[in-house]
Amino acid sequence: MGTGGILPHARSMAPLLEVQNLRVAYASARGGLTPALTGVNFEISAGEIVGILGESGSGKSTLAVALLNLLPPNAVSQSGAVLFENKDLLRATPRELQSLRGSRLSLIFQEPSLALHPTLRMQQQVTDVIAAHTSLSREARREKAMYALEKVFGPDAPRVARSYPHELSGGQRQRVLLAQALACNPALLIADEPTASLDPTTQREILQLFRQIRAQLNLSILFITHNPLLLDALADRILVLYAGRVIESGPAAQILASPQHPYTAALLQSLPSASAATRTNPARHLPAIPGEPPDLSQPASGCRFEPRCSFKMPVCTTAEPGLLSIGQSRSASCFKFSAAR
């Protein structure tokens, strides 16, 4: 493998990343605070793929950048802890953060064409990441960059290395981003909707690649998406975010097969399925969730999902349910579970 090798890091028992009671609020235009994340707790072990499922405004992208301490200046309030390799990232110095970002902790965004420099060749763009984080020789950097490109492109790597972004397809560009992210042996990869702009065939290839890379490098992945279908056969565990809170969490297969929170259940039921339904005449309606996610700048007293919920009870408007354990390694925040006890 030589100096350019990406070595799998050792598996350890302690969680790789531990998020404790993370809260983030943005300053709103009218004065006031808009909470984006409220008391988020979770951990990721080495080699684990955790899916974050949430729609626009659920706080999923805020979570991605908060973990890297990259929140925009209008995120005025931030509390809790993000422990990564025994360091609290929320309290780390800019220098410490700089050395972690892009090397031990990598982030991949949704739109690969916006993340790449339009007039630099791919090899250069991967080498630059390595140069920023290591003091390797020019030759060693090149070798390491090619190694990372081979990981994601296989035999096609030399051709891609010489290409400019406009010569590549959307899927290929996303692979280059992945090569950049992997170039410095990260322990954790955060991917924010990495396949949203791709067509299903390419999407499937990229998901396949994520699985391969996890298996080869024992890398942990936080995969953020609004589409529950993408998490099937990818994620080990799923956290469902709604209006800035984790409302359900558990093993991926269990959540997708038997969702317990009314939101998760309704979301999964609203998806059309190619195998089951084709258009009938007159067409049947999809079981859509009525309404829209709440406006977080308006404080609410009850459950955040109550206005759209079909299982609401009187208590739902007055108090906010906490996350309750509902069986082995599963939890959900809904009063129907506390009522059952």
């Binding site: 067509d199 279908l229 099937d232 317990q260 609203s270 999809l286 969730i289 996610p293 579970f337």
Partner: protein, 275 residues
Amino acid sequence: MATTPQPLLRVENLTKRYSIRKPFAAKSELTALQNVSLALPAKSTLALVGESGSGKSTLALCIACLERPTSGSIFFHQHDLATLPENQLRQIRPQIQLVFQDPARSLNPRWSALDLIAEPLVIQNWLSASAREKKAFQLLDLVALPRNSAHKLAEQFSGGQKQRLALARALALAPQLLLLDEALSALDCSIQAQIANLLLDLQSQLGLTYLFITHDLAMAAYLSHQIAVMRLGQIVESGPAAQLLQAPQHEATRALLAAAPRFASTSPIPALVDA
């Protein structure tokens, strides 16, 4: 043939080539559409599916008369849009409207809902100012946006509401044919279902005809009577939605079906366990 109704839209042998000029290279041609033919009966939905770059959007642009085809015909009613002179096209255009993927980009964020909806009427010089406003309010009702949001700016609406706004704007000129170019793809899953239901309602209420461009095969199956599969500028397979999905003939269709994200267990999702 006598018993089948005349299709609203009939595309015959449509070909569209773009010439590409690269520095230091000879001029070359790219064939975006090659001999594409399809027929779309009135009040029905045809889904056009295929990978990125297969020519779906080029076809929509040709039908919307925003691109002139290289050869072939596009019959809409009695007119061939491919050869119709510009002054006559202007009279046909209101009847064919486009809805794009991302309403955040297709709507001017600093315009009010009312102005956005009324603009097509202003351009066509239809109705008086007060009648236009009345019509705009009716269109808000039609897409289930509250009337009190009429003076809000486009940027103040959520993604799903923006797409409702885009639909209201497209419907302002009472079109017969809507070209929906990935109109659901930028929306969240829970909102996609709402807008899909709205599309179904509008179709039965107004007798609309849809050309629904998507790479979401499940949604195509759900909304469409017919599906046409495109690859490399050609329609490789088309037919009634159910038939095409149950017995796909072409390799491209099978590949799309295999790639469509779905749950490993194809069994329906069990109903919520009531506590």
